[in-house]
């Protein structure tokens, strides 16, 4: 099985036709399904949060079989993820895509667990500490994309679990939990 670093690539990745958008509906559906799963799996294991369509994302080409996904194909597969709520376009031109291998709700739950595990129920912590501080090492929050983290925090704010406030500088946003 071919590997990208530690990641085991599925067999279809080595079959040239899968790099061409299939015209026949049933075949296309199967193709899209396979690519959606691959993209989510890869992003989850590699902790990738954003895919740039015009960049060298490793899954977009396979040098061994000399095939690359066209821009149209890339957009088709990512749009399918967007339709399913597992991704979001970050710009109107569909050049950058936010990948939600955990949905925002899932991230919110992870944050709640993090707060409980660290006894932060009545504490204050900066947003930056949540994603790079000592407490988050070894948790899923470590290295989380800032946009996603803010979205999850805002969701929890709406539920009254916390309050977000601005600090002294732009980087200094903080969170006060009230759980």
């Amino acid at each position: 099985m071919q590997k990208l670093g530690d990641f085991k690539l599925p067999h279809f990745f080595n079959y040239p036709p899968y790099f061409t958008l299939q015209p026949v509906r049933d075949t296309r559906e199967k193709q899209v399904q396979l690519w959606k799963e691959l993209i989510l799996d890869y992003c989850r294991t590699q902790k990738i949060f954003v895919i740039g369509l015009e960049e060298d994302f490793p899954l977009f080409s396979n040098a061994v079989i000399e095939r690359s996904l066209t821009h149209e194909a890339r957009e088709a597969f990512l749009s399918a993820l967007v339709s399913e709520g597992r991704a979001e376009w970050l710009d109107k031109g569909h050049r950058k895509c936010l990948i939600l291998w955990h949905r925002i709700q899932d991230w919110a739950d992870i944050i709640l667990h993090f707060v409980k595990d660290n006894g932060l129920e009545d504490s204050v912590i900066t947003v930056e500490e949540m994603r790079s501080g000592i407490e988050c090492r070894g948790t899923e929050l470590h290295g989380i994309d800032r946009t996603i983290l803010m979205r999850a925090l805002k969701l929890l704010e709406q539920k009254g679990k916390l309050a977000i406030f601005k600090g002294t500088s732009a980087d200094d946003e903080g969170v006060k939990f009230s759980m």
Binding site: P16, P17, F19, T20, Q22, T27, E66
Partner: protein
């Protein structure tokens, strides 16, 4: 070699060992060269044989099967290349190619009845019925070879189909698009030569289910 005492004696022993080693390597090389030459001779004799018995190979399935065995023994695969001596001289490539296409056609047609699994014998019978008007007889051995050739390649281009079967462009595209619509083929537009390829993922399942009978 007479043993001499002291350092001089040791040096002589080492030199002698080196000489024996070189001799051994030369002998091995001579053997290999001789074998290569024998093989080359055998291959050209095989080609001569093929020229002389072209018709028998084409017309007689048993003879053809033994011919294939002989080729295999010297590492010659007459079906390996679409060009070159074997394909041009014997036209065997086209024969198996056409067979392969007919086999896919039959499997396609019988799929509603047998769910995609067909017995090798039945496949050959259907094939013979279809080819009644055709010149060459077909054996089960031929079927297996045609299937494995299809499997090896895995794909075709429109040009190839036109050329090998002498079909018009329209007919070739129609046939390939039919297979596409049936979900038996997939397109591949990614090759740097810009030519569309039709791949047959179904072929490996055909060869598996046929071979198991």
């Amino acid at each position: 070699m007479r043993r001499r005492p002291g350092i001089g004696g040791l040096q002589n022993a080492a030199a002698a060992r080196d000489q024996y080693r070189m001799l051994g390597e030369n002998v091995a090389k001579i053997r290999t060269d001789m074998m290569k030459e024998q093989l080359a001779t055998f291959r050209s004799q095989l080609e001569e044989f093929a020229r002389k018995h072209k018709n028998d190979i084409r017309k007689n399935p048993a003879f053809r099967s033994q011919f294939h065995e002989m080729c295999a023994k010297v590492g010659v695969d007459p079906l390996a290349s679409n060009k070159g001596f074997w394909a041009e001289l014997l036209g065997i490539g086209d024969f198996y190619y056409e067979l392969g296409v007919q086999i896919v056609d039959i499997c396609l047609a019988t799929r509603p009845h047998n769910g995609g699994l067909i017995n090798l014998q039945e496949l050959c019978n259907l094939l013979r019925q279809r080819r009644k008007s055709d010149r060459e007889a077909v054996s089960e051995d031929d079927c297996l070879r045609a299937i494995s050739k299809l499997k090896a390649q895995g794909f075709v281009t429109v040009d190839e189909v036109e050329r090998r079967l002498s079909w018009t462009s329209g007919r070739a595209i129609d046939a390939l698009d039919t297979l596409l619509d049936e979900g038996l083929a997939m397109i591949d537009d990614g090759h740097k030569d810009g030519r569309r390829r039709y791949w047959f993922p179904c072929v490996s399942s055909i060869s598996t289910s046929v071979a198991d009978t």
